[in-house]
Symmetry: C2
Subunit: 296 residues, 2 copies
């Protein structure tokens, strides 16, 4: 029976302290060979990994900036050009609709979706990030439902029919799918009552449906902004120029649409890059461990 | 030096001929062991692969059916409800716009994008499928450009400003990106003048931009159909009911929008499933071999 090999100087360090290594201390060619091997491994593995992390954070920063720009733009549009906000059934109540939908269904939703891609969240304690993901999505869902209430209230107050336009059909389907997704996520990934095969089956569906809901919410927002600008910008009403003459409000509205599309593309880029996915632990059970098991 | 092992009965067959195997002929426990091993490998590897292939073809069939439904629906809408087609600057010329954009930028584009995912195309002769992919995309691009010409011609004839709505901003960006993508694809993957590092760099960008263009084309189509229905369905014009009362044409237009969204989601599902990706050959060079090298 062979005795286990004695540790070398490079084996005693997690990181590679190149400058601290003294050949006399190690006293063998084997140590130098190992050092060269680790150096090669560093060049082959760690440099591309660092590059990938840096490019992720560039994308993530872009995602955060575009998200903030979308929220600021939609708030400014409705506060400055559409007369502000109220909750009295008037047109001022309608103004909550674009603000809440863009903030909830696009910006918060997109940020909640990419949360697991942030390397900072890859520590052992997945539960807190899982709860944050669920929390951000819950807030996004509440804002979206409030956004729908704003438009239904305004329509009912002014005897305007609900749910007739293509925009409204896509929008209501998006919110319904989002609610279903959130409830399924809660049952599948947080509550202990769901069986393991169901969770394993649910995960790819959850990921794909997540990206699809973002796509649908972008479709809803762009068609809604387009529709609103045609409704709002007509010639000879309160001295406004028609949409076709591209007054400043039209440029602002169109720019909001472009920002939303850019935000969506950046989020989908982050979601689709396999190098930016959270590394799964070796045991599948750890990944699918529900809330109560993790608590105990 | 050891002599190479003599072939066993199972090694002489590419497929596993369970029924033809005779233990007496093989004459060893090793053969039976190997048989059991291959059977296990068949259960572990081949059955999931077959399941994956079947589920791909179900999705692909759905993609083809939804694509055909989209084309039929947009043609019927414009032929039956919008008065048919002409190329004289009138409203009948405009009717080509939705037909050509939906057929080119959504249905043909989507089918061209998933072409490499069809297992039938995974043979050695990649060049013919590469040319078919480029050809389908070229046809899609030509139809899209003709679709733009239809609307520009109609607007210019009737002194309507071009490119002011959000729909038109997103639409023109989509077609411009599509053209850039097609030219970059031609230069990068078909012509021999592009260097190998450029091709390797281009491939993930080409794949991601491909999916993004589909997303943008869906956004453009939905916002365009929504806009058109608001323009076309107004009360007291030619006895038509307003959009808000959901006359049959509105239901048809909205259904077309839902079909387009469903088609897009199925295509993106096919594109995003890693199990359905074309297996890459061992040598990277074969993947990136340009047209003239493959020809020779």
């Amino acid at each position: 029976m062979q005795s286990p090999p004695s540790p070398t100087c490079s084996e005693t360090n997690d990181f590679l302290p190149l400058s601290q290594l003294r050949v006399e201390e190690c006293g063998s060619e084997r140590a130098i060979g190992k050092l060269i091997q680790e150096l090669k491994s560093y060049i082959v593995t760690d440099i591309p990994r660092m590059r990938s992390t840096v490019s992720f954070y560039v994308c993530y920063l872009l995602c955060l900036c575009l998200g903030m720009a979308c929220v600021m733009c939609v708030c400014y549009w409705n506060a400055h050009w559409r007369g502000g906000f109220a909750w009295d059934g008037s047109a001022l109540q309608f103004n909550w609709h674009p603000v809440l939908m863009v903030t909830g269904l696009v910006v918060l939703y997109g940020n909640g979706a990419v949360l697991y891609r942030v390397p900072l969240t890859w520590g052992e304690n997945k539960l807190s990030w899982k709860l944050l993901h669920a929390g951000v999505m819950l807030l996004a869902m509440v804002l979206s439902v409030l956004g729908l209430c704003a438009v239904f209230g305004n329509h009912n107050h002014n005897h305007i029919p609900n749910l007739y336009s293509l925009h409204s059909w896509v929008g209501i389907c998006t919110t319904a799918l989002f609610t279903t997704q959130w409830v399924a996520g809660l049952v599948g990934f947080l509550l202990p009552c769901s069986p393991m095969p169901f969770r394993k089956l649910l995960k790819p569906v959850h990921v794909w449906l997540g990206a699809s809901i973002l796509l649908l919410s972008i479709v809803s927002c762009i068609s809604g902004i387009n529709e609103k600008l045609f409704f709002a910008l007509k010639a000879n009403t309160n001295g406004t120029k028609p949409y076709a003459m591209l007054p400043p409000e039209a440029v602002l509205g169109n720019s909001l649409g472009v920002l939303i599309v850019a935000f969506g593309l950046v989020v989908l880029k982050i979601l689709s890059n396999p190098n930016w996915q959270r590394p799964e632990p070796r045991s599948n059970e750890a990944t699918y461990r529900p809330l109560l098991q993790e608590d105990t």
